[in-house]
């Protein structure tokens, strides 16, 4: 281990008071995988400790051990010096641990008050404690400036409001150690700012916060200390004030991170263009209204926006799964009339779905069979359009596995056994080998580690310099700002005009993401 900044003695000495939470030598093994390897952490009152690590570094396992969902193979957890009984969620809650999950655990059909009170009151009681609960909730809400209406249904709340309810729920139950798992994934930058102010208010009143994230800039702005996990081991523990982005990234990945070089090219003719396109959706997904945009050769256009503002519907439209109810879709200047995945693929559209597992693979089929899903009935892999040529298909797969560096023991292995990064390589391989003219990349690096992210980005940039147009949908503004040439923001099914990335900041995009689509970059909102 080449890290010498870790476990600095002065970082600990500077903390006041006795630790509220001590994790001592916790290890947890799943089969061959050592998910947590002798992890020791200390949390002091009144501080925000950031837990940084890539997917699979062991963050979630550690939290599950704290909350008694898993039992550690070795080690102990102490809260206020008292040993926490292992394997009991109740014990963790009673000891004052509170968790805000990435995916909220609220009942949509209940009010805010009912959600907060749920489980914290005796099941059988002669009188309702509704009024007391309401009083307590309102006083907590005022104290921490978490404005919510106790009587509203959770279903009617925005994502930011729901998160406030989650935090209030934990506080209501007397939590003094609040653990937030990737809390900003669903928030706009402005909502994130609000959350950070709340966290500061919490720690000022002596509570402690564990903030789990892999976004550097957030960690740098909100935390007091950072603990970095890599492959189940604690590889560093540093004061936030004494570190920087690159040092943290290196700790997290284990080596210096090289970012792909982005060069601006002269864009060519539009490959695909939407002119005043509206899409009706029957299933509750956000409809599109009057969307006009174009993706040209040799450029990457980013789509920014809070999840659920029509990106999914736009992706379905460009995948051939939905058809416009108004307006026209142009492919190289010619109106598209046939909407089906097969026709879009035949024209030269490469589609990278948002959710690899849900839309990308057939889990029990082998790797080589999964590489065929867009090749059905095509010669020469299929004879007479119906009978598989297994030899040709396996040869095809062998080439793709080599070219795209898909790591698998054998091509006969079930696709579900691939790691996230290799699964994404499989998805890239089967669409990119055909050298498509247009690539729809929907959250292409979500959940991947740094190495795989670099691989995906390099491939997209290579496609761009080869002459393809790329539409990149991402919830990560950093990704959009570093990779794209132009950016479009979506809000409530509408799209802003395309802005040159060089001229916008994350702040501009944040304002647009919260509804001001006509915002002029650099202008101060009224």
């Amino acid at each position: 281990m080449s890290v010498n900044t870790s476990f600095s003695a002065d970082a600990r000495a500077s903390r006041a008071g006795a630790p509220v939470l001590e994790v001592r030598g916790v290890s947890k093994r799943f089969g061959a995988l050592l998910a947590n390897d002798d992890i020791s952490l200390t949390l002091y009152p009144g501080e925000v400790l950031a837990l940084l690590g890539e997917n699979g570094a062991g963050k979630t396992t550690l939290m599950n051990i704290l909350f008694g969902h898993y039992q550690a193979d070795a080690g102990s957890v102490r809260v206020d010096g008292q040993e926490l009984a292992a394997g009991h969620t109740r014990a963790a809650l009673d000891a004052g641990l509170g968790m805000v999950h990435q995916h909220f655990t609220l009942a949509d059909n209940l009010t805010v008050l009912d959600n907060v009170a749920l489980g914290s009151q005796p099941l059988l009681s002669w009188r309702s404690r509704h009024r007391e609960a309401r009083q307590r909730l309102l006083s907590l809400a005022t104290e921490f400036r978490l404005a919510v209406d106790p009587e509203r249904l959770v279903a009617d709340l925005s994502v930011g409001e729901r998160q406030r309810v989650e935090i209030l729920k934990a506080l209501f139950r007397g939590a003094r150690i609040l653990i937030l798992d990737e809390p900003t994934a669903v928030l706009t930058p402005q909502e994130s700012e609000h959350l950070f102010r709340t966290l500061r208010a919490l720690v000022q009143r002596g509570l402690s916060v564990v903030f789990i994230s892999h976004k550097m800039h957030e960690i740098l702005s909100v935390s007091d200390r950072v603990a970095v996990l890599r492959r189940g081991r604690l590889v560093g523990e540093v004061d936030t004030a004494r570190t920087d982005r690159n040092a943290l990234a290196e700790l997290m990945v284990g080596h210096a991170v090289t970012r792909p070089t982005v060069s601006h090219l002269e864009p060519g003719k539009p490959v695909i263009a939407l002119e005043g396109v509206g899409v009706d959706t029957g299933d509750g997904a956000t409809a599109l209204h009057d969307v006009t945009l174009a993706v040209r050769e040799r450029e990457i256009v980013g789509i920014a926006g809070v999840a659920g503002n029509g990106q999914g519907t736009l992706a379905r439209l460009l995948s051939g799964l939905a058809r416009p109810s108004s307006g026209t879709l142009l492919w190289r200047g010619e109106t598209i009339t046939r909407y089906s995945p097969r026709h879009f693929v035949a024209r030269g559209v490469a589609r990278i779905p948002e959710d690899r597992h849900a839309a990308g693979i057939f889990p029990e089929m082998s790797v080589w069979e999964n590489l065929l899903n867009e090749e059905l009935r095509r010669a020469p892999l299929w004879r007479a359009g119906h009978i598989i040529d297994r030899r040709a298909c396996r040869e095809h797969a062998r080439r793709l596995i080599e070219e795209f560096d898909i790591r698998c023991d054998s091509m006969d292995m079930a696709a579900r056994l691939l790691s996230g990064g290799n699964m994404q390589k499989l998805l890239l391989a089967r669409v990119l080998y055909r050298r498509p003219d247009f690539i729809l990349a929907n959250q292409p690096v979500r959940g991947l580690d740094e190495g795989a992210i670099a691989f995906v980005h390099e491939r997209l940039l290579a496609a761009k310099s080869r002459g393809a147009g790329v539409l990149l949908m991402s919830e990560d503004l950093d990704e959009i700002l570093t990779l794209c040439d132009r950016v479009i923001v979506m809000y409530h099914g509408r799209a802003s005009r395309a802005l040159e990335v060089a001229k916008v900041t994350a702040r501009d995009l944040g304002l647009m993401m919260s509804g001001d689509l006509d915002h002029v970059p650099g202008a101060v909102p009224a």
Partner: protein, 349 residues
């Protein structure tokens, strides 16, 4: 104890696991045999002899296996696509109805024409019986388990009406049965002085055809793909609705052909007790075979052997032939457990 997924499953394990499961189930049911007060080895020896021990026993077992192969294939192919067709029993009777309609004098032709025509008619009738459940599933998302299951009773009542009413054979001395199939339509015997008929060949050929289709054709790929992940299939441009329809027609058709073999091969005429639950037993056959089309042939013979052997055993010793149902149920459960063990390793800690 905990389970860990296996990265690789050795071939020997895939082959031996179901055999071990069957052995375990025989061991489990032997406690019932002991309870009945009979020696286990004698009972099982009698069962085996009654199923496979003589020319007569063997032909009886294979004749019993014939409809089970077809209904087992019907379940296997449908379950591969996660289309839960529980209505093979009704589809079997639809095939039987079509056979009776066409084979009792409607079409008079040489056997080389009439017999294939009966199979085509039976398969069509079985497939058509699934059109309504498929439409309801694809268009309105109605659960096919409910519709296919309940349709069984509708079809049985229709058969009941026909054999008691318009189709009742005047020569049947009042028994509720339809007129017999004309001689040209009766399936030829495979073995002299036995009940084993051409249907067995049809069943085995059907199993081969289903296996080849699933393994080597676009349709097979699409069926497996839709079964494993319909969303990914739709994303890739595979017509999910069309695939479900195709699977339903194949599945219903196979079950319908089981009706043909029973009416034209075994019994000669349609009655209300034509099938002692072959449609439902087909599900057990498919499960025992882990949905593998060639495995279906083996597991159908195994099941048929248990039933035929148990009948014979119950005549010799004091054990009711219901023991067959217990053995089959135990086998299905232990095979399901063994399939899990094929996918996962058990570790004791």
């Amino acid at each position: 104890m905990r389970l860990e997924p296996r990265e690789h499953t050795p071939l020997w394990l895939i082959v031996t696991a179901p055999l071990a499961a069957v052995a375990v189930s025989l061991l489990l049911t032997s406690t019932l045999v002991l309870w009945a007060g009979e020696p286990v080895t004698t009972a099982y020896a009698l069962l085996f002899k009654g199923a496979f021990g003589s020319r007569f026993a063997l032909t009886e077992t294979l004749a019993r296996a014939t409809p089970l192969i077809l209904t087992g294939l019907a379940a296997a192919v449908a379950f591969r696509a996660k289309f839960w067709n529980i209505g093979a029993e009704g589809q079997l009777y639809c095939g039987a109805l079509a056979t009776t309609w066409l084979g009792t004098g409607m079409l008079e032709a040489h056997p080389a024409v009439l017999i294939p025509a009966l199979f085509v008619a039976g398969a069509l009738a079985g497939g058509i019986a699934l059109l309504v459940p498929v439409f309801l599933k694809v268009r309105l998302r109605v659960d096919e388990v409910v519709t296919t299951l309940l349709l069984n009773f509708v079809i049985l009542l229709l058969v009941n009406y026909l054999v008691e009413g318009p189709w009742k054979d005047p020569m049947s001395l009042g028994w509720p049965q339809a007129a017999p199939i004309i001689d040209e339509g009766v399936l030829p015997r495979l073995v002299e002085r036995s009940r084993l008929h051409l249907g067995l060949v049809v069943g085995v050929v059907a199993a081969l055809a289903v296996w080849l289709t699933l393994r080597y054709t676009v349709w097979g790929y699409e069926i497996r793909a839709v079964g494993q992940n319909p969303e990914a299939a739709a994303f890739a441009g595979i017509g999910v609705g069309a695939t479900v329809l195709r699977v339903a027609l194949i599945s219903g058709g196979l079950a319908g052909m089981a009706g043909v073999t029973e009416v034209a091969g075994l019994k000669g005429y349609l009655t209300l007790d034509l099938s002692p639950g072959f449609g439902y037993a087909g599900i057990a056959v498919a499960m025992l075979a882990a949905l593998h089309p060639l495995g279906v042939v083996l597991s159908a013979v195994f099941l048929a052997g248990i039933y035929v052997g148990a009948d014979s055993m119950s005549r010799a010793v004091n054990i009711p032939n219901y023991i067959a149902d217990v053995i089959v149920a135990c086998s299905v459960l232990s095979v399901l457990v063994s399939l899990m063990l094929v996918q996962f390793k058990v570790r004791l800690r």
